[in-house]
């Protein structure tokens, strides 16, 4: 019998747009997120329409609305409700939405498939890390925070151009990877701020 290591799993490829696998054989359950939410595939998104559609679909599918209809209906309602929430969560978040659009074009954004980043961005990452390491107070961190926010805004705009104007999945995937890094780094920064 094989001996297990002390701890189990090593994460591979964080931030992957992997959702629940096949939930059923019905065509409509397998519809992609955009179709399910009746939204045009792309990056720019009508947030109000997304929210409204989510509530409409859940009104229809949520298991609580089928309490009178027995176990079979409940199970099916659960599958639908899960699928609707999955698509909603993915479309709501700009980064997840961008990654999902890339995957629909056959371009994976998984970090394990392609870690190549432009050298200039790698240099920038190093500078940010140093700035974070050297900061001694919350005040020291505010220029870094502002810089990250600006970078984030600029890259989100570039992501939108890559998807909605150029339809360039490779360029979009690269922006998504850079944005994923910024998101993780900002999280480290917030953790540091919480400690001050």
């Amino acid at each position: 019998m094989g001996v297990l290591p002390e701890a189990g799993a090593v994460p591979a490829g964080a931030g992957e747009a992997s959702g629940a696998a096949a939930l059923g054989d019905e065509i409509s359950l397998r519809a992609d997120d955009y179709t399910l939410f009746a939204l045009p595939p792309g990056f720019a998104l009508d947030r109000a329409a997304l929210e409204q559609r989510w509530k409409q679909l859940q009104r229809l599918a949520h298991p609580d609305r089928h309490a009178a209809q027995g176990a079979a209906a409940q199970r099916l309602a659960l599958q639908w409700s899960v699928r609707i929430n999955e698509a909603y969560q993915r479309l709501k978040d700009p980064l997840k939405r961008g990654a999902y659009w890339c995957e629909l074009q056959g371009q994976s954004v998984g970090a394990h498939d392609n870690t190549a980043m432009p050298a200039t961005f790698l240099v920038q990452q190093m500078q940010w890390r140093e700035a974070l390491a050297e900061a001694g107070s919350a005040a020291d961190l505010s220029p870094l925070q502002a810089e990250l926010e600006a970078e984030r805004a600029q890259r989100l705009a570039a992501l939108q151009t890559a998807i909605d104007v150029q339809h360039d999945a490779r360029a979009a995937a690269q922006q998504v990877r850079a944005l994923l890094f910024i998101e993780r780094f900002e999280q480290q920064l917030h953790e540091r701020l919480d400690r001050y």
Binding site: G2, A7, G8, A12, S18, P63, D64, A72, E86
Partner: protein
Amino acid sequence: MALLQISEPGQAPDPHQRRIAVGIDLGTTHSLVAALRHGHSVCLPDAQGRVFLPSVLRFLPAAAPHRSPSRQIGWEALQAQTQDPANTISSVKRLMGRTRADLQASGVLERLPYTVVDGAGMAAVRTVAGDISPVEVSAEILATLRQRAEDSFDAELYGAVITVPAYFDDAQRQATKDAAQLAGLKVLRLLNEPTAAALAYGLDQAAEGLYAVFDLGGGTFDVSLLRLSRGVFEVLATGGDSALGGDDYDRAFADALLLRCGHRGHASELPLAERAALLAEARRLKEALCNLDDAAQTLPFAATLHGQALQCPVSRAEFDAATTALTERTVAALRRVLRDARVTPEQVQGVVLVGGATRMPALRQAVATYFGRAPLTDLNPDEVVALGAALQAQQLAGNPDSGEGWLLLDVTPLSLGLETMGGLVERIVPRNTPLPAALAQDFTTYQDGQTALALHVLQGERDLVQDCRSLARFELRGIPPMVAGAARIRVTFHLDADGLLSVSAREQSSGVEAHIEVKPSYGLSDEQIAAMLQEGNASAEQDMRARALRQAQVEADRMAAATRSALAADGALLQPEERAAIEALLQAQARIRLLDDAAALDDATEALAQGCEEFAARRMNRSIATALAGQNIDQF
């Protein structure tokens, strides 16, 4: 010959088919039961007309050897608290799903006026009747409320929605479910208390927009942020502090009173009886002072310690000063929840106060200052949680005319994740994820030729395994040997509408799979529950049989009625032979219905349900496909 009754599709044929479902607020200091009567949610009173049941249970010594010890519950037990603190269990909600070590670490232990020991799976209370599990105490309270509801309707209860603090973790939720099972109650849902309050408010006042619910109970503190729009209640974020409540104000005040009278030391260092008396006096004074308009007006405080009489005048200003730190903690939690939801205080349209402790003027002021507006208090803050729970119970019981227009979209209150190398937690389901949900992440092996993976499921917001609560462990075996990092193992967390978690792991290339339904290790085992049920006052066997038959009949009639109305509405979706098969199952069930055999009837009902599965799938797919086609789905 008995004729089969056939009613209009979608309508309950007779009142007995109506399921009686209630909402129960199982509180730290008191509990309530509410139900819908004539379309309105109301709290059900006891025989004396009181809606509150103090959450207090007292054990008395056995009157004679071999006789079981007797018990007092509610008001009677509460009255005895100061004279018999060691055997009078109050605030038991704080002990649910907690070990003695947990209670010690959170500082709860030293403040309880009775003796807490290690028990089976969680802490227990040492009394003259032996060591009592908090689950048993909660079960007694629930059973009392169940009885009250059954007397009130003169009918069996179908089930209950029981409220819990939003911040309760899986162990605390499971303990609450165990208590319900012990009390013979079917749990339709555990509903978060602030959400229940929002339901009551939203449906009563037809509120729209962004609402914050601030719920300070006897022993718990919760905040939730909800968006209400056209009958959909969407929980945006939830948070709080499961070890902060009105009780803490009593204790802080008691300490301040001792100091004021020149007594050195804390209330927690006093003997049990004196401590209980002092806390009761602090609470009485707190309530009296909070009812005064003038913060400077004084009331006399009097207590006896070690035979020595203490006396001094005290004002609400002094009470406020002694409890400022606690109020600040509540505001800090409020800030966190709003930050989670990326909402500013100005965006919140209304603030709902829940819990008796929110009657304190200083607290109200702090909340009003934070939001820049006075909180809403139209509904009784002590009753609003039970009233909301009753509304959801009605919907989940599936009564034909209930819950038509609204829907609650809840979220998971705490993050869930897996242990990874180095004792770190990889978060898979972030807190505030809408339910139900399925979230997956890929993992890999870390050694060459590794054929098994140990998966450790955790709950909490911290990064280290040791700071989170362990929910379950399981293993995935039979992974084909590969170099480290080559395997792709997809781990999926499934949460159903109840928030119940199951986790599955699948190696992608070989398809080997493992799966676990998470029942936290802190809960009681099924054997322990069974043992408690046997010890308890189980109903006589005949009673049980009659009850089982009635339940089987109600279920059978409901299923038959639902099937007939589905056939009438959507029979076109079936081929003639498919329809004939379902009709045959209906007739078989109707024949067995006449036999008074509960087990056989349950089987027939189950057979009917299974026979209708494909039909149900087609109906739902069609209704959603219609919606996808762009029709106005508000009509559904």
